[in-house]
């Protein structure tokens, strides 16, 4: 089979017209929006034109099916409220082109998929969550977007075209190409990332309850200042984590809510988010242990009460060894010495698929590491290289 680069680029640019933001190549195409539904209709037509069978499942995942058991290639075509043109669209159109080229060549059998609501208008990776069995449709139907619309309401618009959920057995594996969304490849001038693992995420909420007091009459040594407790917690954590983390480990305090949040009042309470990500399950656990120890120490040192919420999260997903080997061979052939093996710090549909079939992921560089923004972009030569590596790997598999 021979992929057609011009046709691939033409389809990729055609897709970004659905929900074009008018700012650079930016796209606004939330799951189940008019733009998203129109894009899926267009994609279903392109699938049919490629000699594949379009199939919508009940949550709106769109497949282009080759006959018999096939390899599945794809990603998602919905976007963030202010999205880039590539993100998931790149992996969908690459899947379309490879499945089309394979159909033209009379094999191997390759199918394509565009998952629904990967960007989390309702849940997180909602479409692949449900198809993989991680989440039931009944549970997900109760999820609401920020305007209070439920998933059940949103998917009424597509029930007319929806068929059954497909059996996982129909597919021999899942390949997803995606922009990196981070700076590693761009900064090192490497052109392909072969994903080793999708990192696990741990999320919790911590509250320090001190004593609210007059900011003029309460001496420093008698304060039980919740903000000071948070600052000391953060500082101590930086120090303790140093012995445990790798350069790929990340952690974030991204949400802080101070009470009463007034300049003349010693803060009596703070609630904040604590999120950490790593590809190693054991390391995630050791970090949690440190967080608990440091919270206890801060509670003692600062006279505050520490309350820790249950820890939520998604476990790391290792990518399939055989698929990784095929990606590495294909990358080395197409771009000798210009690729690396790397974890994915972002969550992807591939993490759900890993629970039900062999999975592999491929990254191309994000210019400046930018994503989820109108100015997200990747050099055209890198897009084409990604397509070629993905097609080579599909042939090898």
């Amino acid at each position: 089979m021979q992929v057609n680069e011009a046709r691939f680029l033409s389809d990729l640019h055609a897709l970004r017209q659905f929900g074009a933001s008018g700012v650079g190549k930016g796209v606004v195409r939330r799951a189940f929006s008019e733009a998203d539904l129109a894009a899926r209709e267009w994609l279903a037509d392109r699938i049919a034109g490629a000699g594949l069978a379009p199939h919508f499942d009940p949550v709106g995942n769109l497949f282009g099916l080759a006959p018999g058991k096939s390899l599945l290639i794809g990603s998602h075509s919905d976007t963030q409220p202010e999205g880039g043109w590539l993100d998931g669209a790149l992996g969908v159109i690459a899947g379309l082109e490879i499945a089309r080229a394979a159909a033209e060549a009379g094999g191997p059998p390759i199918s394509v998929v565009s998952f629904q609501d990967e960007e989390g208008r309702f849940g997180v990776t909602t479409g692949s969550d449900i198809w993989s069995g991680k989440l039931s449709l009944a549970e997900a139907d109760l999820f609401t977007d920020t305007d209070g619309v439920t998933l059940a309401e949103a998917r009424q618009t597509v029930t007319g075209q929806a068929g059954e959920f497909l059996s996982h057995d129909r597919f021999s594996g899942f390949l997803e190409m995606h922009i990196e969304q981070g700076p590693w490849l761009d900064q090192s001038s490497e052109r392909i990332g072969v994903v080793s693992d999708i990192v696990g995420i741990r999320d919790m909420r911590i509250t320090f309850e001190g004593r609210q007091n007059h900011a003029g009459t309460t001496p420093m040594h008698l304060r039980q200042d919740a903000f000071q407790a948070l600052s000391a917690f953060n500082t101590k954590l930086l120090d303790r984590f140093a012995n445990v983390v790798t350069p790929a480990t990340v952690w974030t305090i991204g949400h802080v809510s101070l009470h009463p949040n007034a300049s003349s009042v010693v803060p009596g309470r703070v609630t904040f988010s604590m999120q950490w990500r790593d590809a190693d399950l054991d390391r995630l656990g050791r970090m949690e242990q440190i967080i608990r120890e440091v919270s206890d120490e801060i509670a003692g040192d600062h006279g505050v009460k520490a309350e820790l919420s249950p820890v939520l999260g998604i476990d790391p997903s290792a990518m399939d060894d055989r698929i990784q080997a095929a990606f590495k061979q294909a990358a080395e052939e197409a771009a000798p010495g210009s690729w690396r093996s790397m974890p994915s710090g972002a969550l992807h549909d591939a993490a759900n698929m890993a629970a039900v079939m062999p999975v592999g992921m491929l990254f191309v560089p994000s210019i400046g590491g930018i994503s989820h923004a109108f100015d997200e972009d990747t050099d055209e030569s890198d897009l084409l290289l990604g397509l070629q590596v993905l097609a080579r790997a599909a042939r090898l598999l």
Copy 2:
């Protein structure tokens, strides 16, 4: 003259019926509320009954005037949204009792005052701000409360009874008794504080602008995390302030606003309040210098842009030496060895009066250091001791 302790306590308890919260002795008596206006009517009656002339000025400050040039004693009778029964009410009723006792004894001439809106429904110490000339009535009339009501609208309810602003020359000095609102006297079992200075306050708003980014794909070493910048700023400030401050110096980061304040996003911006208080003008300036230096260092270390608002504030007010001496003598006579000289960390009407006449302040203990709360209280024996010290000092002056 001889003060009547029973009459003083009776009036003090009578006043707390106006706006009684129903929770302990707590009071809800915001400036210009029904409860506040009724309390002022009652107070005007008690003033008239004491043989003094009631006088409302245009902003609602209520005086009880002795004939000729007199010493002025008082405080304020409005409260916080959830106020204690003593706070300013104590100083007003002590002033009433001493002025009444002096009138009964045929001298010395002593007047009483209850300032309006000390607790800042509209401004801060609004009534004494305006009378002292620090703020014009026209400017203040535009101030709004949290419901959008202007001071101009609120004081329409009292314009019928309002006379002129009084000349400051009418008064030889101003004495204010107040609860300490802090823990120093209560913790040391001392019963009287002679205020040396009312501390100055400096307030500013600092913004660190970093770069908002994906919390999964952005490595730690490439982040420009605004929260991390704030935490490092706070930690460094603690260290640098150590060489400059005294045990009476206080500083507070009480308001923090993080953007976009989401657990999965590296915070791109934080705006926070920085407030510091000290009785020494030079020290306030040195602290500001340190804040500016540390902001610059953090901006460099964390790749954020620091923006510092103009510094607002109130300068420290030294209390009059002759009045302090009279208070000390009276305190030593009434409670030998059980008093101390101390700064006031809270702002009071006396700070405004210090600009236009000799001023002195006296503190009695706050149980547990609690104020601006329904459970604010002081031992009755300390209330009576305060009254006696204030009366002795008035006689000495």
